[in-house]
Amino acid sequence: MQDEPTPIELTRTVADFLRNDIAPLVSGHQAFKLRVAINILDLVTRHLTLEQGSDAKELERLRALLGGDGSVTDLNRALAERIAKGEVDLATTGLAEHLWQTTMDKLAVDQPNYASYKRELSRDG
């Protein structure tokens, strides 16, 4: 077992430092690059925070859909192949719900401010 602080605590503290202490000091292209860097650290923090929970639920849904077992990567690949072959489609019970949930969980990490995501989130809420 690795020691603490956790990766999430570490990325968060670096992002906060860059945002609060460095961003006011730079301008122009450097400021743009710094914003991208801070966005990356924020994304990594969200990824580390949310991945375990969303992967576990995704795996559960994939098992139910495909009736097999494997890692989330393996089963995701298997699902892609079954859709490509036409063995599974939107008429398959649970597929649309699975794809929606999986995609919403990705947006929560990748781009939580994306307008389509916010619209769909308000539908859930």
């Binding site: 690949r77 859709i83 794809l99 929606w100 995609t103 990705k106 990748d110 781009q111 994306y114 389509s116």
Partner: protein, 328 residues
């Protein structure tokens, strides 16, 4: 210094020109550059743009029409009275500037978010969807016997190409698979009429002023095909920049786009437009993957490139909104 070569070049084809000033690189990758500069002239400075592939970067990627074709298309559009810069010079070997062309500089804004938010464009915004329809109709009506040689693309060929690109990424995405199946199942077949297709007509590739569209840029992906492709691409959600209820570039409705298009004497096919919107959404998603791959392989190891890989999921939610909408 590029100004030395530019000065020698303009002296040959611009009567009265004595040199150039203010050359500054605007954008582009390693293989394609855009420069702005002013031609020094006794009647006053002439704003100009150089678009070129530097020496050693002559070979265009397979999909690109090539800079010579781009110059021809922009000039044809200009001559037809469409918003397009006048092409002043196509580079020749004596210019020692690589391949490409020099065009008149059109003032205005290309940054989509500014066009959608800044007060300067407030009066133009409500007019743009319809205006874009008219411009597209004009482009699609350009005389075919004057066009440069271009690739001919059908929907089936494009699906094949995107599928190949996607598979080469080895990046299994169930939503992309679903979209590929949908596209194959809904391929509307050959278009009633084959026309010039711009191929990348969207908010971000247009110069906009307070009066509306001033120029159409980036003809790199021009080809022959179904004119409805351009109408679908301009509606892809990624080019609405948050204004998701205004499908045409965040400016207005499909109906306004179609009205503008039909007022210019051409027919719309809304079902085909929807097909091409789905295709376009998938296309941008696969392009995000391609940029992630280029980041990994190293030619452009920038943070921005890396982050674009994390935008593919935006196209996944948009594909689901198109293909499997949830009850409202």
């Amino acid at each position: 210094m590029i100004e030395t070569q530019l000065s020698r070049s303009v002296a040959r084809w611009c009567p009265g020109a004595t040199g150039v000033t203010g050359a500054a690189r605007l954008s582009g990758g390693a293989s394609q550059e855009t420069w702005r500069f002013d031609i020094v002239h006794p009647d006053g400075p002439i704003g100009a743009i150089l678009r070129r592939s530097p020496k050693g970067y002559g070979a265009a990627p397979t999909r690109a029409a090539g800079l010579r074709a781009e110059a021809r298309l922009m000039q044809l559009a200009y001559e037809a009275g469409l918003p397009s810069p006048r092409v002043m010079h196509v580079l020749v070997p004596e210019d020692d500037l690589g391949t490409g062309f020099i065009m008149q500089r059109v003032e205005g804004e290309t940054i989509a978010r500014k066009i959608l938010r800044d007060d300067e464009f407030a009066a133009a915004r409500p007019l743009l969807a319809r205006q874009i329809g008219g411009v597209l109709a004009g482009l699609h009506g350009l005389p075919q016997d004057k066009l440069p040689e271009l690739r001919h693309m059908s929907a089936a060929k494009e699906i094949d190409e995107f599928e190949r690109d996607y598979r080469s990424l080895n990046w299994p995405k169930p939503v992309f698979e679903l979209a590929l199946r949908w596209l194959r199942g809904h391929d509307p077949g050959p278009a009633a009429e084959t026309t010039l297709v711009h191929g990348d007509f969207r908010n971000g590739n247009l110069i906009i002023g307070a009066d509306g569209v001033r120029a159409v840029l980036d003809w790199e992906l021009a080809h022959l095909g179904d004119p409805m492709e351009d109408l679908g691409w301009v509606c892809v959600n990624s080019w609405r920049f948050g204004e998701i209820d205004k499908p045409v570039g965040g400016f207005g409705s499909r109906e306004e786009l179609f009205t503008g298009y039909e007022a210019a004497g051409r027919k719309c096919d809304p079902a085909r437009v929807k097909f091409w919107e789905v295709m376009g959404t998938l296309r941008w998603g696969i392009m995000c993957g391609g940029m992630m791959q280029r980041f990994r392989e190293g030619p452009d190891h920038s943070m921005e490139r890396a982050m674009i890989g994390r935008r593919a999921s935006e196209t996944e939610i948009d594909l689901l909104r198109l293909l499997a909408p949830r009850g409202s």
